[in-house]
Symmetry: C2
Subunit: 369 residues, 2 copies
Amino acid sequence: MEASLSDVSTPARVADPGEGLSHEELALAARNHGLPLEALRYEVTPAGLHYVLVHYDIPAADADDWRLVVGGRVRTPLTLTPASLAALPAVTRRVTMECAGNGRARLSPRPVSQPWLVEAVGTADWTGVPLRAVLAEAGVERDAVEAVFTGADHGVERGVEQDYRRSLPLPVATGDDPEVLIAYAMNGLPLPPQHGYPLRLVVPGWYGMAHVKWLREITLVDAPFTGFQQSVAYRFRQDPDDPGEPVTRIAPRALMVPPGFPDFMSRVRVVPAGPVRLEGRAWSGYGPVARVEVSADGGGSWSEADLAPPGAHRWAWQAWHGTWTATPGSHTLIARATDAEGRTQPLEQPWNRGGFGNNLVQQVPVLCR
Amino acid sequence: MEASLSDVSTPARVADPGEGLSHEELALAARNHGLPLEALRYEVTPAGLHYVLVHYDIPAADADDWRLVVGGRVRTPLTLTPASLAALPAVTRRVTMECAGNGRARLSPRPVSQPWLVEAVGTADWTGVPLRAVLAEAGVERDAVEAVFTGADHGVERGVEQDYRRSLPLPVATGDDPEVLIAYAMNGLPLPPQHGYPLRLVVPGWYGMAHVKWLREITLVDAPFTGFQQSVAYRFRQDPDDPGEPVTRIAPRALMVPPGFPDFMSRVRVVPAGPVRLEGRAWSGYGPVARVEVSADGGGSWSEADLAPPGAHRWAWQAWHGTWTATPGSHTLIARATDAEGRTQPLEQPWNRGGFGNNLVQQVPVLCR
């Protein structure tokens, strides 16, 4: 019996009409997890509540044995260790991170992959060394155009065996706002295994696929990287033959702490009649959020929420709050963010084949007694 | 318009034949999460990888304001704080915890609830004060038969508004093996929010529903507690009218670290031909595991794994390992635990309406090239 990878690793597909969620999708949902929405109450997400997506396995790793090799189109190849990085001047940045596939499970037809509803987000204080400082130390050759980042997680995806690998254009890799980090700590402690221990990339403003975990190699290249995660996955496309546009920065979004208390199964919220405080967080990977609005009538009318200014943490979410006067009956609350450049959230979902970059407004069903 | 809880909080049910997983079940899977199976490599599960199930919301909590009230049929009611508990002699116990609903999503018909496949488990070092020491301090009245534990998480479930509440028979609550703890630390750090910060119960050997999180009240009662989580939920029953038997201790189970590397979507494992090391953990809520066996032919033949003795941590899982000689083709690996009293794991799943206490053997599909 001949056995090949294509037997177990099939092309990307969208679900048939009415096709229920498979055990494969459920297995991803049980491994990976989102932010329980009440945890939006924390300005900095406790590490175990931050969303996590792992493509393959969390690698076994030991900081004492770990090597990060910087090579390719550099003058001086470097071999760094977590200890040698920790000896360099450190910076800490508060960064909101979101999975590019957030919202995928609500699309119709549904792209078959990690089935997020709306909760694939979190904000942490990441401590590490600016990538540009490391690249300056290595000396980037003039013909380098991109930096390619290799993680230690190994697997097969859509028939392609690979280490997880992504690139950034050189101006992004060496930029100072956002400033890309090689991080070794999350919220003041060593990275947890599922968040990239002992080293990961943090790319403020970009979707999660750019923040390569378990980072073991940085290679400067003189032509754009065309590996699987760059050219096949993480593209906005309408059909399989479309080369598509790359997924990069995070589209604006507001999320609400669901008010009142929940039903266990339906997660519908129960509130008393009268004024109900609504609060949440809003963010955009393009810069500050300028406005958050709330609607209790399906988007027919909106009221503007009080929005905290971006403050010192330019790439972290901003708190917002407002008041809704609840009346007996069933309601659906909606929040919508608009960023400083006018990008906002759709009320009806555009569709793409990978289910990327969705920022459809959150809908929170509430029962008022 | 009259609006009532029964509109949003419906009775327990099982899925229709062919009914796919709903968004409601998926929302629970996205909030709660299992142990990524490769994390079975850790004897003590890092906190963020330990399975977690929250019935309602994770409550906002501050240890400085927290009160634990011990009352009911006691001679001296007590009001304890996390600080007053931390000042008492502490014990640390390594305990394997598993959700009573583990495996539910594979049942047919499927009980509609949190859809675990096989991964709802974890092992932590819990530090706290023995419950029996606290009860001795309060002085249990002679007519007390149970202790009722109330958590701060509030919600509605199957039409019943409630704080999460469970009881233990007095002999269990005051036993010394297993010794029930009021825990304030997990793996040497304060409890994370999702694991019960600032105080929770730990009941070694029992399924997770007994380990009440966000513990704020212990009440000694002179008649068995008949609240929702005791008499309605967490019963083994075949039909809704069956009063059922209570869910208590953890049935034996072995899990395997899936060998080789995975396909992203199917999670099928890929290994080379030749000897493959298999390893994992096994546990039983009734005491030590006596034997772990592995089959590569669907249970037709079994080989016995090397099993670590229970050692100092009587209520924690035991490591096991073995070797399988892989030949090209598709295989399904199975591991099976048998405890010292002869309880073992079924190859075909018995069914109950709540999907509780399942310990069907894990099946790991592997492709050998």
